[in-house]
Symmetry: C2
């Protein structure tokens, strides 16, 4: 296990996310799950179904991050161009993958594994398949790039199947509390605390729920002892403010 | 009104989105609202609260797109660094904006416009304020960059206040239908139709809702006559498939 953070980038591919028709649900899932295995989601990009944009973005991301995860664009229709773009980015041919083809042939009723669906059996040459226990059509991995479906239930099942292929660093542990005060009331003390604990990332997230103003404070660190020490100090600060404050369940500053 | 598409990029700034703690709700809102005024959201990036990343991404985006919208990072706490990064990206000083300061001073009870909250009155020199009718602390505009809050209700109110400053091209009109069939059953005909109508963007979005598999087909174009013609042909194709299909309300292929 290394001390250097292991990083990831997510590429969300699809016009439907950019047009606002579809609300992305994959980013928050991947952010949480990657963090659990010690991989930090460091950036995400939402890009359209446009070949040069996908190719350029993919080549940028795979050189810069330890892992790249793509979602979307691997179905049977003309606008599903992710697989071809990945092949192009790597400079390797797109081929009919024998195992993917066999799985899809077995999946569909006789005569329904048509020409369009054969698109879904194509991968860059040498790609390693990613199982799809929901609807069979597989994703695939080429080097540090994992190509997955866009439909959340399928993407999540695919991720479950590849999590064991990933090597993380130290996971970021976290403690968080909700404070019934605007963040401007604790900003100064929080900033001072941050200076004392440069190794504990301190985030302040205001919210406004039907007129109730409050702040969620999140501490994150790889070292439990440092995190606990910072959380105890934050707890003291919060008590002096005299407002309602609640630590997340099982994550009180006194618990490991 | 020009025929060249007017483009936009959204920068979602905040560790909490990347960690998966917070589900972004701003992208889909902006995608829809921008499209209504003829501006195409062409790319979005989710980036952490890290100065060089924000500065670099902002400078890339403002040179490449007609408009850039940022969300997040303009509050009073130490991790709110968006305003300073925008100033740095433009190479202009960050100043205490007199009007922003006056608004905030009037907003808080005496003695509560503290040092931390004064951060929220800082903008790059010469910035034009963006009103915040929810909680006063303003956003701001510098050239083609619009800096807004991350809390959705505030961001939406801010956008309503600046929409009149934006000049769009022709809006993309759309027709969409939901088909009770996997997309592989219509992929071939849809691809052929796309070739006949290169000026009509055709998207196919499969879904899997509690085991119900279906496809949403979306046609988008700037010219109503072309869109209607393509929708009528698609309607014919769908009828031959014999599956349940429903056009979105008020958007049947026979209506303008």
């Amino acid at each position: 296990m290394t001390d250097k953070p292991v990083t990831a980038c997510v590429l969300i591919i699809g016009n439907e996310i950019l047009s606002g028709r579809t609300q992305d649900a994959n980013l928050s899932f991947l952010g949480r799950r990657l963090n659990e295995i010690g991989i930090r989601l460091t950036e995400a990009r939402v890009i359209p179904d446009v070949e040069p944009v996908i190719v350029e973005t993919l080549n940028w991301a795979r050189a810069r991050f330890d892992y790249v995860f793509t979602t979307g664009g691997i179905g049977p229709t003309h606008d599903d161009i992710t697989s071809a773009c990945v092949a192009k980015a790597f400079g390797i041919p797109l081929i009919l993958h024998p195992e993917a083809r066999a799985r899809l042939e077995a999946h569909y009723p006789p005569g329904q594994f048509n020409e369009a669906r054969r698109r879904m059996a194509h991968t860059p040459q040498g790609a390693r398949l990613i199982d799809n226990p929901v609807s069979t059509a597989p994703g695939f991995q080429v080097e540090n790039v994992f190509v997955m479906a866009g439909i959340p239930v399928i993407m999540q099942a695919m991720f479950d199947g590849i999590a064991h292929r990933l090597s993380g660093g130290k996971p970021l542990l976290s403690r968080s509390l909700t404070l019934a005060l605007g963040e401007g009331r604790i900003a100064k003390q929080l900033g001072a605390l941050q200076e004392i604990y440069p190794d504990v990332e301190m985030g302040s997230y205001p919210f406004n729920r039907e007129g109730d103003i409050g702040t969620r404070l999140v501490l994150r660190a790889t070292e439990a002892a440092r995190l606990d020490a910072a959380a105890l100090e934050l707890d003291e600060i919060v008590k002096t403010l005299g407002a309602a404050a609640e630590w997340d369940l099982d994550l009180s500053p006194h618990k490991k």
